[in-house]
Each structure stands twice: as C-alpha cells, then as structure tokens.
C-alpha cells in the first residue's frame, strides 16, 4: 500500500525533471491526442492480438495493445505503464486513429445522475461481493 511519500509527491516538482522527461520523449512532445478525449474511466480494448512495430508506433503503443487484450480503463493503463495520464491519452489517440483499440467513453452526465437502474445494479453488485 502507499506510504507517507505520497504527500511529498504532491509538491511542486520544478526541479524534478525525472518523471516529466520520459513522457515528453514518448509522445514526441505532443500534448493532445490526435483523436478522442479519453476519460480516466474510459474502457479500452485492443482490436488485435498484437501489433508489430508499424511505422509511427513505439514500444509504449505496443505495450498498450498488449495490456488491452483485457478490458482496462485509461487510468489502469497509465498505472501499469507508469506514465502520466496525459501521455497515455496521446498514445491512445494514435492507436484509436489506426483502429487498433476500441474505446467506450463513460456516459457523460454533467447535469444529472445516471439512470436509476445503474444505481440498482451497483448496489446489487456490491451486496453480492
């Protein structure tokens, strides 16, 4: 489980280039995905069992296709790859543009709450755990 180190990680890290440089290199400095928005809980699945090193795809792209042989959220992919979510969004955009992943965005409910049946399903699911 996580320790007390967590709090220091929330400090400003101006002089702490380590975690930033690698993501920058991974995306070639791109900040936004070419397509898609990719909520933290958008669910992603690969459309192929594997991809070779097609032109324009890096090892992180290939790793995502490997991970997404099972259904994972954007947050889970980022955690498994140890990359910031923004970096993973860029990589997912590349994959989505090539139809190498299928993405399900969560139902957007900015104004209200989801359907009653969603609540009931969650309550029943929790009770059954």
């Amino acid at each position: 489980m996580t320790g007390r180190g967590e709090s220091t990680e929330q400090e400003w890290v101006d002089d702490h280039a380590g975690p930033v440089v690698r993501p920058y290199a991974v995306t070639g400095g791109r900040a936004r995905p070419v397509t898609g928005t990719f909520d933290l809980i958008s669910l992603v699945t690969a459309t192929r069992a594997e991809v070779g090193s097609e032109s324009g795809l890096g090892p992180e792209h290939v790793a995502i296709v490997g991970l997404c042989q099972r259904i994972l959220s954007v947050a889970e992919i980022a955690a498994h790859l140890d990359l910031p979510v923004g970096t993973v969004r860029v990589l997912l955009g590349d994959l989505a543009a090539r139809s190498l992943v299928q993405v399900r965005e969560p139902r957007a409910t900015p104004a209200g709450l989801p359907d009653e049946h969603v609540f009931e399903a969650v309550i029943n699911g929790l009770r059954a755990l």
Binding site: L43, G86, G125
Partner: protein, 202 residues
C-alpha cells in the same frame, strides 16, 4: 490479476459501462485504505501532470520552461458484472488541485467523505466542494481511537450538514464496512436523484 476475459476478438460484445465513486477527506484519514479494502486488487496509482497555472493539464510542450506539478491519485477497481465496472478514486489533497477534482467528480455517482473525529475540520473542504457541486455524498467517520465517543448526530451538527446527509461509522480497513458505506451512499444518491427529478418535473 485476471480481470475476466483474457481474449477479446474484434466485434465481440459491447464494452462494459464504467462508473466511479470518489473517496475524499483530509490528509491521512484512510482514503487509500478504504480503496484497497474493497477493490479487487491493491490500489493502483496514476498521475496527472499539470502546468503551473493549472489551466493546461498535461501540456508538456513547454516542459523545458519548467513549472509542472504532478498530482497522484490512488484508485481501485471492482468488476461488478460482465457489463459494469466500478472504480473508486481517492481524491488528491484538498487544498489545491481542484482542477483534478473537477475531472474526477464529473459523472461520479457520488462521494464518500471520510472523517476523523480528532480533527473533524479536516474534511470541511471536501464537504464544501461536494455541496457546491451538487455531488451526492455521505460522511463516514473512520474508526480511529475515540471515534465511538462521539454520537453521529453530534458529528452531523459539528459539520453543519444538511439533515438528509447520512453520517455513518466505518472501519476503512474492513471490506464489509467499506461495502456498507458505499451502499449507503448509493441509496442516498438514488433518493436525491428521485427528489431532484420530481422537483424538476412539476
């Protein structure tokens, strides 16, 4: 670490619906513990990189020009069925990073605000945030030493909560206790949803 289906050919059944609940509260109050107690794996950690102003999330283009900050979030997954996956997110520190809170709260079913009776005021910012946003929440008083010396209605009054907001005792380390808190939250959120629907409809 098996999340179910291991192979998923193209054109298979539609992907499940994902939903989320937030676990908030002051520093060290047991957020990560609760996420871990009820999730199917140990808590995972993900990071958002923000620019100094907090306006351009993940904008790494000017990274040589410094001033980024990293916000860590703990989360866990509960696969409820073939077509429903619940994620629990522990919120990052309450004093800044509201930008990340907004992202987390968008579309959330609701929030659990964990409280420690030895320092109740620590959860004020979380409560203010969810009240202001209209996000359904419950207050769960975590079982640290002394928690049982307080009556829940005293906590309710001390936090100046609306009468309808549930206040429950919990032990964030216990799976059954964490489950009960989540179910209380969902039942409360359903009631609120129904009340709002009626208020809007007549």
């Amino acid at each position: 670490m098996d999340y179910g289906r291991s192979e998923r050919p193209a054109g298979a059944a539609p992907l499940p619906t994902a939903i989320k609940i937030l676990i908030a509260g002051g520093f060290g109050v047991g957020k990560t513990t609760m996420v871990g107690a009820v999730s199917e794996t140990r808590p995972l950690r993900t990071e958002e990189v923000l620019t100094e102003t907090g306006i351009g999330i993940d904008d790494l283009s000017g990274v040589e020009a410094k001033s980024t900050t990293t916000v860590a979030m703990d989360f866990g997954r509960i696969t409820l069925s073939d077509d429903l996956v619940l994620y629990l997110f522990g919120t990052p520190g309450q004093d800044r990073f509201w930008f990340v809170w907004d992202e987390l709260a968008l579309g959330a079913l609701g929030a659990v605000v964990l409280a420690d009776t030895r320092r109740l005021a620590d959860c004020f910012p979380s409560i203010d945030y969810f009240e202001g946003r209209g996000t359904p929440f419950v207050v769960a008083v975590n079982c640290f030493e002394g928690a049982r010396q307080f009556r829940l209605d005293e906590v309710q009054a001390a936090l100046d909560l609306d009468p309808g907001v549930p206040v429950v005792l919990c032990d964030a380390r216990q799976r059954e206790s964490a489950k009960e808190v989540l179910i209380t939250l969902l039942e409360h959120a359903m009631k609120l949803r129904e009340a709002r629907r009626r208020a809007a409809g007549d």
